[in-house]
């Protein structure tokens, strides 16, 4: 059993049985099993067609909990499995007259595990009963009744597991551990983990993809108490928690998928301060890092909240795990994020609770409806401002061009947002997630109908570095150096640079674009984001509309719609991802990339601004490599970053660099005292370095 690492060796701390369980789960055993039972069938349900949507939903949930296969994996320590395959496709897993997945399901939220673990799901039931008394006879009564129905369904599913476990004497511990939770408050660490897992599995069973949130904050006190009582050892706790991570891989099914088969927005957030500003990092934080380090599980992507006072011990541990590669762990700058949320209008105590939507967009967990609207800034520049490079528009100054772009950006943001008197109506029932979102029961409204305490619709801008580079190239080529007239450049761009390869290369190679710590170009990014955030803040509608910067891989689909760029990229090339430099334009290394990114006032991008950085394995090797990662993170915090993902690139990346050197300008190879950019070496030398990647020079 080998758990893959780009770099270095993974330690062994877990039992052989747990490692075997992980190995099977990561190798699709349970995911493929889940595919075999896609959904429950509603065909024979009496009068199904004539039910209201909410009644249909209730009927489906009941059938799911009664009929979904019960799965108990060999030697598992936690019970509950989301065993219906259609859920993996973001649908409520039910079919009617061969219509697959009658209802869409919900993602981009982290549900309220806190209430479940500390107060128990019965507390939610009690709240619903009280709400029923309040809303009886009103139009909110059906929703509240649906809530009570869904809790009953959760209990039916729970009982099926208890009955099954009872039959198997070897699962006696599981049986006992599941009796109390998730309906009553967890009494100890093991129960608390089971409580979170069972609730998570139930919500997923019904098709939804929730995030986990701050697991160390949820579990820390339970572990502390058990360790103090001597009822649990740290090793036992690690085994239990490992099963949480392993069971989280039960939707890995192998085979080809658009964006991989192992990303269902189930992110975890570690460390940071509590609502009173006290650091919460505890033994659970370190156990999670141990597990990721050993098993390399990437299904629960981790983001660690770092602040100026974060203990060096935690930073070092984070760096040690990042060093192994796989890009599992990212970091938040919690000082900046809390400040940005408070500036935006959140109470400080609420801001301090922040986690994410299961990806990296910031939200207060268990209380937030979240959705984002993507905008491709480069298409706005090319199609609107420059009118598809027609000869109809011309600009006499750079300022004129810039101002027109800002104007177009503003109207585009306003265009894509829904009408401002949006009424909270949804045809999609979503009671199961509404149970675990504070505000829904109280207001008598579902998650999709304004139920949660905070409702967020975030405009996310993408392709920003590409726009910045395009504007900068036009500024240099046309207005500063007068290498080419504006109209002539438009013509060249329209021809996809066919007529002047030499000028294209010049534009591509001669200027220091975004990501090289060049103030002149970075300030353009800074100005655009300032304007963009202002537009977002000025929108008045029922949602909060905080700004964000992302592409989430959309740069691939957008590439088909994009024309040639003034900075020398041809039409349809895949350009910048998230808020990272356009591939091939960053030549100064990781510190310069972070500097460029941090010049933007990221407090204004309240939803988030993601920076992805790739490092060579040879750079992060050994003790020295961990030290480098720590220094990068500390610099990122000091300079005012928001979210950063450090990834370690392997030899296959170097091979890609060899084939497409234009996209890998920034790969420098550094071997004790000698230095050169990888792409300036000839093939023989490159081959040599590829062969040595990861070795201990």
């Amino acid at each position: 059993m080998e758990f893959f690492a780009v770099n270095g060796k993974r330690p062994i701390r877990l039992s052989e049985a747990t490692r075997k369980f992980a190995f099977d789960s990561l190798n699709h055993k349970y995911g493929q099993d889940t595919c075999k039972t896609p959904a429950v069938l509603m065909d024979n349900y009496e009068d199904f067609e004539n039910l209201s949507n909410l009644q249909k939903y209730d009927a489906i949930i009941e059938r799911i909990v009664r009929e979904a296969p019960i799965r108990i994996c060999d030697g598992e320590k936690l019970s509950g499995s989301a065993t219906l395959g259609l859920a993996m496709q973001h649908r409520v897993p039910a079919t009617f007259n061969s219509e697959q997945g009658i209802f869409d399901s919900v993602s981009h939220l982290t549900i309220d595990f806190e209430t479940v673990v500390r107060k128990g799901a019965n507390y939610i039931q009690k709240q619903a009963e009280e709400a029923l008394a309040k809303y009886i006879g009103s139009d909110k009564e059906p929703f509240i009744r649906s809530c009570l129905h869904c809790i009953r369904c959760m209990k039916i599913w729970h009982k099926r597991y208890l009955d099954e476990l009872k039959k198997k004497p070897e699962y006696r511990t599981n049986y006992e551990n599941l009796q109390n939770v998730p309906f009553e408050p967890a009494k100890n660490f093991y129960e608390a983990v089971q409580s979170i897992w069972f609730t998570f599995a139930f919500v997923r069973l019904c098709g939804n993809w929730p995030g986990i949130g701050r697991i160390d904050w949820l579990l820390g006190t339970y572990l502390e108490k058990d360790l103090a009582n001597g009822t649990l050892t740290l090793n036992e706790a690690r085994e239990i928690l490992a099963h949480f991570f392993i069971k989280g891989c039960e939707w890995i099914k192998g085979g080809e998928c658009v964006s991989g088969d192992a990303q269902h927005y189930q992110n975890i957030v570690l460390a940071g301060v509590d609502e009173n500003g006290k650091e919460i990092t505890n033994q659970v934080t370190f156990l999670v890092l141990d597990i990721i380090e050993e098993l390399g599980i990437s299904d629960f992507p981790i983001t660690v909240r770092i602040n100026k006072n974060t203990d060096n011990k935690l930073l070092k541990r984070v760096a040690e795990v990042i060093r192994l590669g796989g890009g599992v762990i990212a970091v938040y700058n919690e000082d900046l994020i809390i400040e940005s949320l408070v500036d935006y209008g959140y109470e400080l105590s609420e801001a301090r609770k922040f986690a994410n939507d299961g990806c990296w967009e910031i939200q207060v967990p268990g209380k937030t409806y979240f959705i984002y609207t993507p905008l491709d800034a480069l298409q706005i520049l090319q199609n609107k401002t420059l009118d598809n490079y027609s000869q109809r528009v011309s600009f006499l100054t750079f300022k004129g061009l810039y101002n027109k772009f800002i104007c177009d950006l503003k109207s585009e943001v306003e265009r894509v947002l829904p009408s401002r008197d949006w009424s909270w109506r949804s045809t999609t029932p979503c009671t199961v997630v509404s149970l675990f979102e504070q505000g829904c029961i109280d207001k008598g409204c579902s998650y999709l109908e304004g139920g949660p305490i905070y409702n967020v619709l975030s405009p996310h801008i993408g392709g920003l570095p590409d726009v910045v580079n395009s504007l900068y190239a036009i500024k240099k080529l046309v207005f500063d150096e007068e290498k080419v007239a504006f109209g002539e450049l438009m013509q060249l761009l329209k021809s996809n640079w066919e007529e002047n390869e030499s000028l294209r290369r010049y534009a591509l190679n001669k200027y220091a674009y975004f990501g090289n710590d060049n103030d002149e170009v970075d300030n353009i990014a800074k100005d655009i984001i300032f304007e963009f955030a202002n537009v977002c803040d000025d929108i008045r509608c029922v949602y909060k509309t905080p700004a964000g910067i992302s592409t989430f891989g959309r740069q691939i689909e957008w590439s088909q719609l994009r024309l040639a760029t003034a900075f020398g990229k041809k039409a349809h090339e895949v350009l910048s991802g998230n808020f990272s430099p356009t591939p091939g334009t960053d030549k100064e290394g990781a510190t310069a990339i972070i500097k460029s990114y941090c010049k933007v006032d990221l407090k204004r991008t309240v939803s988030g601004a993601a920076l992805d950085i790739k490092l060579l394995p040879s750079v992060v090797n050994g003790e020295k490599g961990a030290e480098a990662i720590v220094s990068l993170i500390k610099g990122f915090i000091t300079l005012g970053g928001h979210f950063m993902q450090l990834d370690i690139a392997d030899a296959s990346l170097l091979k890609a660099a060899q084939e497409h050197p234009e996209d890998y300008q920034n790969l420098s190879v550094r071997v004790s005292g000698w230095n050169a950019r990888f792409v300036t070496l000839n093939k023989e030398w490159q081959d040599m370095i590829i062969a040595q990647t990861g070795s201990e020079f």
Binding site: N509, T591, E627, S631, G673, N682, W685
Partner: protein
């Protein structure tokens, strides 16, 4: 100062994250040189053939140093290093090595990564031999120290011993090369003998210089027990030495030699085996010396 290159985010030139300034000019001519473009103190033209698209933009040259018959050739004796062709070259196939900076300009660049240096990181002057431009090097190092930036120097140790009284207080760490301890071989392969280098090292130590000794390992030349024994002997005389680092020869410098239009004298046969590297490390460790 005449600079060959400035690299940010350097991990292997001293502790922490560092900005390394590679300076032009070196008194040695090592056959295995890893950075041949830093040897001469003159501005030099590098030409990367693989990046050339034959567009002819470099024909702006006033000296007519670029010729295009069947392919692009450079008459290097005509080149005055003015850089006109580099400005015009759209692909980066031409590069001038050797740019002059003022101390203030360099300080500004070094300070760019201040946020990443932390307590350990900082600036490293490398080369070439930084003390070929000793006056400016002192000024730069002193300014950096004043600003609280850790300073390191990579040196071949071949310079007039007078400079040490000023160099030692300005330098937090010396990365000091001992390329060979056999004087005859040293002269044959580097052009100078090694007595001065070793005497300077001992003198620097007596002035309180913190050092890390760097030893290049070249298969067949210095992969010899006698050499390791000599190194151990020298290190045992040093009070402030943190340890020894072995640097296996590699032939990557060859790419740059070719770009300079010169013939590379190195050979793949010089690359030491892993066994040889381990043997060298082990020898010193057995003598109680820290191997970095």
């Amino acid at each position: 100062m005449r600079v060959a290159d400035i690299q940010r985010f350097c991990m292997r030139d001293g502790p922490g994250i560092r900005t390394t300034v590679f300076l032009k000019g070196c008194p040695l001519r090592c056959a295995w040189c890893h950075n041949p473009e830093t040897q001469s103190n003159k501005r030099e033209l590098l030409y990367y053939e693989t990046k050339c698209i034959g567009c002819g933009a470099c024909a702006v040259c006033n000296q007519n140093a670029h010729e295009f018959s069947d392919y692009h050739t450079i008459q290097r004796d005509l080149c005055i290093g003015c850089g006109e062709c580099v400005t015009e070259c759209p692909t980066g196939a031409l590069e001038i090595i050797g740019k002059d900076y003022t101390i203030q300009e360099l300080l500004k660049i070094i300070e760019k990564d201040r946020a990443f240096y932390g307590e350990n990181g900082g600036v490293t002057l490398s080369g070439g031999e930084p003390f070929m431009q000793s006056e400016e090097a002192f000024l730069l190092l002193e300014q950096c120290k004043k600003k609280g930036i850790h300073t390191a120097i990579e040196t071949c140790g071949y310079f007039s011993s007078d400079i040490l009284s000023r160099a030692v207080p300005a330098t937090d760490l010396f990365l000091w090369d001992i390329k060979d301890t056999d004087s005859r071989r040293h002269k044959e392969y580097t052009g100078v003998s090694n007595e001065r280098i070793i005497n300077n090292l001992i003198l620097a130590d007596s002035l309180g210089a913190k050092t890390r000794i760097r030893c290049i390992l070249i298969n067949g030349l210095n992969t010899k027990e006698q050499h390791y024994k000599n190194v151990a002997g020298i290190v045992s005389r040093l009070k402030y030495c943190e340890g020894v680092e072995f640097i296996p020869y590699h032939s990557y410098g060859g790419a740059k030699t070719v770009a300079l239009g010169e013939i590379y004298l190195g050979s793949d046969k010089w690359i030491p085996s892993k066994g040889q590297i381990d043997e060298a490390k082990k020898y010193l460790q057995n003598k109680g010396i820290t191997v970095l």
